[in-house]
């Protein structure tokens, strides 16, 4: 299967990534070859396969007990932009 440039653009938008023209061609090629390789899975008969997903018991969930949070300094310490204990993001709507 070939991944088209249109698809790459859609995936880039989902991924919040950008590629220039040269990168676009390269990644379209790379992804096509990887997807072609991965397509070998389509030939595997999985119609009667037992599901092995581990299932946890309710008892393994957490008790509803409050523990100390981190300090505000620790929470926003790595933020590129912060103000008065808040994180600052670009304006959500113009």
């Amino acid at each position: 299967m070939e991944i088209t440039e249109k698809e790459i653009k859609h995936l880039a938008s989902l991924s919040r990534l950008q590629f220039n023209d040269e990168e676009m061609t390269k990644i379209a090629n790379d992804m096509s070859s990887i997807v072609n390789y991965v397509d070998q899975l389509q030939k595997v008969d999985t119609s009667n396969v037992k599901d092995n997903t581990t299932i946890r018991e309710f008892e393994e969930l957490r008790e509803d007990v409050v523990k100390d949070s981190l300090s505000n300094d620790e929470i926003v310490g790595n933020a590129p932009k912060k103000l008065n204990g808040y994180f600052i993001a670009p304006t959500v709507v113009e």
Binding site: F58, L70, N72, F87, V92
Partner: protein, 477 residues
């Protein structure tokens, strides 16, 4: 052209657990920004979630209250999208296997007919942080205190056909969630809010219309307004033969207005998949039974209980049970003073009026149930007069001082001594001959005048009933 309106609601309600749904931070409204936060709820690299037992139990409880089936295995999935209030850029939610499936609630439609609104599911997820738009800094401030607060989403089928029905449904759900004590449902704080899906189709047609979604509505009024607006907008478009475009409007806290968030052409692809950090977990029947045992009586049951066992009227019981806080208060008061009809009457006539003067939204009675019970008990047994009772009620509403002590200290006990009252009554009759003449001419207001004068002279302490009887006895002679 006439249209059928098809409405479905997704109601979000914050659960009142102690801690958040996937970490041990405090679940509490407000607080200094980013102080109820840890690596898990702000999505630091390497942090991992652990589900909260109580949040799961409360979800089960909500499901049982609306007749849902409880799944034996539940799965948490990731809903992937970028938004600044979502710390991990995915929300842990449930898609293919939510905790509760199906169920429904009954409402009354515009004609007073019972209508059953089916539920699709109830699932457990995490709330997002809070955004505060700040034009001064040209950015949006983010507080993740709310991020990771447990949230249930109650998804209805598209069974409603008017704003009234949607509001009735929402009110019903709110009442149920309050009764089973899983949520405060404070709409103004956003602990109950909803998304509305609405589409129109030609009357009688079975072809579904294109739907619009309005997100994040947090009052009954905004729901009504949004639906009415959408009905107008869509019918105008359809009338003019134009196409309704599928779109989502979001009522954003940060900017306090709604805006069209996305259109069909860039429809979100949430890429749901099972959260690999959260394995599926089992919900044994025994757990469901355990939760069932903690289920308090729902409103209908409570009304029946009050009517059948306490002798309240159907109407009184229904008003009293409208708010769970009032029910709890009433139950406590009658545990001290077991005259339910008397207590109910006073609550409905006097207390509720007071509540409305104060604050419509949150029903909080500042008088302790015991103090209130003592007041009513003194009144009912004739120890204090109605006038004194009203006065004291107003006073202890502000202070919650011990009303028994106040009566004692100020000597407010009612005078029930017939001889003493008779002396005062005779004095009044001699003093106001004109009123005696009025009375004899059939003007009943004269009687009230005498009682009023008597109360004035005794600071309200004379037993009005005895006085009234004495006056009548003397003048009718």
């Amino acid at each position: 052209m006439e249209y059928d309106v098809v409405i479905g609601l997704e109601v979000h309600s914050e659960l009142k657990t102690n801690s958040k749904v996937f970490c041990s931070c405090k679940n509490e409204f407000g607080g200094e920004p980013n102080t109820h936060c840890c690596p898990v709820c702000i999505g630091l690299p390497g942090a991992l979630p652990i589900p909260n037992k109580e949040a799961v139990k409360m979800t089960i409880k909500a499901g049982l209250a609306v007749g849902s089936k409880i799944n034996d295995i539940a799965i948490f999935e990731r809903k992937n999208y970028f938004y600044p209030d979502l710390a991990k850029a995915y929300q842990i939610s449930q898609a293919v296997r939510p905790i509760c499936v199906g169920g429904g609630v009954e409402i009354e439609d515009a004609n007073g007919q019972k209508k059953f609104i089916r539920l699709n599911r109830i699932h457990l997820e995490e709330d997002a942080g809070k955004l505060i738009h700040n034009p001064k800094i040209g950015g949006t401030m983010i507080d993740y205190n709310r991020g990771g607060v447990p949230l249930i989403e109650i998804v209805s089928e598209a069974d409603m056909s008017s704003a009234e029905e949607a509001v009735a449904y929402l009110a019903k759900l709110r009442n149920i969630l309050q009764y089973i004590e899983v949520s405060d449902c404070k709409m103004e704080q956003g602990s109950l809010r909803c998304d509305v899906n609405i589409s129109l189709k030609p009357k009688g047609s079975s072809v579904l219309g294109v739907r619009a979604e309005m997100k994040n509505l947090n009052s009954f009024r905004s729901v009504t307004r949004a639906i009415e607006y959408e009905i107008k907008r869509q019918s105008r478009l359809l009338d003019e033969g134009e196409e309704v475009v599928q779109e989502t409007k979001r009522c954003d806290d940060a900017i306090n207005r709604s805006f069209s968030q996305r259109r069909k052409e860039d429809a979100q692809d949430y890429r749901y998949f099972p959260d690999p950090d959260l394995l599926p977990f089992r919900i044994e029947r025994s757990l469901v039974e355990e939760v069932k045992k903690t289920m308090p009586k729902l409103r209908e049951e409570k009304i029946r209980d009050y009517v059948d066992n306490l002798g309240l009227s159907e109407y009184d019981a229904s008003v009293l049970t409208n708010d769970l806080n009032l029910v709890k208060y009433f139950d406590k008061v009658i545990s001290y003073f077991n005259k339910p009809k008397f207590v109910c009457n006073f609550i409905l006539t006097t207390l509720l009026k007071k509540v409305k003067e104060e604050d419509e939204a949150d029903l909080v009675v500042p008088i302790s149930a015991e103090n209130f019970a003592n007041l009513l008990s003194m009144y009912e047994s004739g120890q204090i007069s109605q006038a004194i009772c009203r006065e004291l009620f107003d006073e202890i509403w502000e202070t919650n001082e011990d009303c028994k002590k106040l009566v004692e200290e100020r000597g407010l006990k009612q005078n029930n001594n017939e001889d003493e009252i008779k002396v005062m009554v005779e004095a009044l009759i001699n003093e106001f001959p004109q009123s005696v003449a009025d009375y004899k001419a059939g003007n009943t207001k004269a009687l009230s005048f005498f009682i009023g004068q008597l109360m004035k002279r005794t600071q309200g302490k004379a037993n009005a009933q005895i006085a009234s009887k004495l006056i009548k006895d003397i003048l009718d002679k």
